[in-house]
Subunit: 330 residues, 2 copies
């Protein structure tokens, strides 16, 4: 069932980011339990913002990057729902998909086969579902999806299944002069249409995977950008430092992820000079959200968990460290 | 002759952007003569910032994009001086360059042959001069160049040959809630190291051409990004709307260029809904700067000049409209 545009807008309005003023309150992170994780964050922010201190970093250089899937919002059971819906819609025009992976896996709802197709499979899906749409039409489709699609377990729009403690963290950092960016393997044009409303992060601060687009003259005689079925950039693993360099042009001093796909971003962040922060969201809460790490098909957290232990990175235990998980309790 | 780092920093400090407060003064554009060009700018800004007005645009959507070469700084006789210097340095290791274009043209100082090699030639130069350096080392080389290289005619660092009226315009727009971006065919990693100091535009708001970079483990065991001799993206002509879509993710409402390489950016800007501004710097001042347009090898302004006339875009006549050209008079 589709919501009307008015209802979508009303729903999005409820999801406005936590106001910056909150971050100046005595407790800027109210949904975080007291403990090592919270303390590591506030200690770091205090340190780099203390004018004249040994670890002071000027505001312009306070770059903070966040993975999205599993770090800012729920990524289980599968966050690429929009692509799924489009594949089903488009299937009648593509009879070959019935026998070709990764499309067959989607049509059969065969999650195991889909996971086996790996990143390449996901990129093929992205390219197929986006191709032949203008960037404007694609943004519209994403907004409709954000307003209508619902999570199978929590029965809420995906954009409501964002982590309240992380929204507070984003606002806290921004109030302290940080620039907050999303750096995700998700399609950049899938993320931009809703992230400003939901996270307070505008399109130009969203870095993601992308397909090729081409400038052409539309039916109206006006120029338009058409999406082509060709992958341009995969913002995952080693692609994350590359994406950060390309889009942000400055090394972060603070980065948060939740899976091995974030390992290189975290390594790249802490390899810079001066004070650095690397954080990991560890999904330990099967009751309020999900519990997964070393063996998970989606959001596998294995090498990065070992490196965090070895290097003393901050590991957030969702069950222990978060008072509240989602913005709106399901 | 090379300046020491201290002197470079001191020189850059002199070039701080015009403070935002200036824009709130009764005359926010003091280096602009009264006339149609100035009026078209202030009228537009007044219109889109008037809350409740028919043309009001929320601050988050006030995206302004500026070409760099010939729009914000002097592009004549050739702005790719850094590449020139590197080619000469590297030539002993590349005997084949003596007979291969575009390298031969540089070594022979044959500007005509260089221009004939076109954009492809420039891109080859960029790839050759950047390859095999880490992004950190390249930034350092650019900073050294910015402090030491001098313009052949004006005998000043290139970063002092920036247009005072355009700095005022950038500050004026920012004071009115605009986000200002550079969108240039110049190499993004060549521009970012100095633009924040000179234009007040931070690295993440600089869009440009780029080469491929690769994440690797450096000698110190730390991750580093190595530049590869392979072109990734050319941010010129039709590439400009593509680059804007990729990096900014939102269509500008205000754009400024000075050549046919900016035509598509200007067309893309004005093709959006609502109030839009397209501006062109016309180089008409051979005495204070240079005079060139339809026949120029560098910064050719021909089709875009016709389109500006046909569509009523704002054309800035440097000689007539600017009281002062450079920040520091040569």
């Amino acid at each position: 069932m589709r919501f009307t545009r008015r209802i979508i807008l009303a729903a999005l309005t409820l999801l406005l980011p936590v106001p910056a003023a909150l971050a100046q309150s005595p407790n800027p992170l109210p949904s975080w339990n007291e403990g090592a994780a919270k303390k590591s964050i506030t200690d770091f922010v205090t340190k780099v913002t203390m004018q004249g201190g040994a670890d002071f970093v000027p505001s312009a250089e306070r770059i903070a990057t966040f993975d999205n899937d599993g770090t800012l919002w729920c990524e289980q059971p599968a966050y690429f729902q929009l692509a799924f819906d489009r594949i089903k819609e488009m299937a009648p025009q593509h009879p070959e998909w019935k026998t070709t992976q990764p499309f067959k896996a989607i049509l059969d709802r065969d999650m195991k086969a889909l996971a086996a197709s790996g990143e390449k499979g996901l990129m093929q899906i992205m390219a197929a579902t986006h191709a032949g749409m203008t960037t404007d039409d694609f943004s519209k489709a994403v907004r409709e999806w954000a307003g209508s699609a619902r999570h199978p377990r929590f029965n809420r729009p995906y954009t409501e299944l964002v982590y309240q403690p992380m929204l507070e963290l984003l606002a806290y950092l921004r109030a302290d002069g940080f620039k907050t960016f999303v750096v995700s393997d998700g399609g950049v044009e899938f993320m931009r249409p809703w992230m400003e409303k939901v996270y307070g992060i505008p399109p130009e601060r969203v870095v993601g995977s992308s397909g090729v687009v081409k400038l052409q003259t539309g039916a109206s005689g006006r120029p338009e950008l058409m999406k082509i079925a060709k992958i341009e950039f995969v913002d995952d693993g080693p692609g994350k430092p590359v994406g950060i360099n390309r889009f942000i042009g400055r090394r972060p001093i603070f980065a948060f992820g939740n899976s091995d796909g974030d390992l290189q971003m975290l390594q790249w962040t802490v390899a810079g000079e001066g004070a650095r922060f690397a954080g990991i969201v560890h999904h330990t809460d099967a009751e309020r959200e999900y519990a997964y790490d070393r063996q998970s098909k989606i959001g596998k957290l294995d090498k990065a968990l070992d490196e965090a232990a070895a290097k003393g990175w901050s590991v957030v235990d969702m069950k222990r460290d978060w008072k509240k998980v989602f913005t709106v309790e399901p």
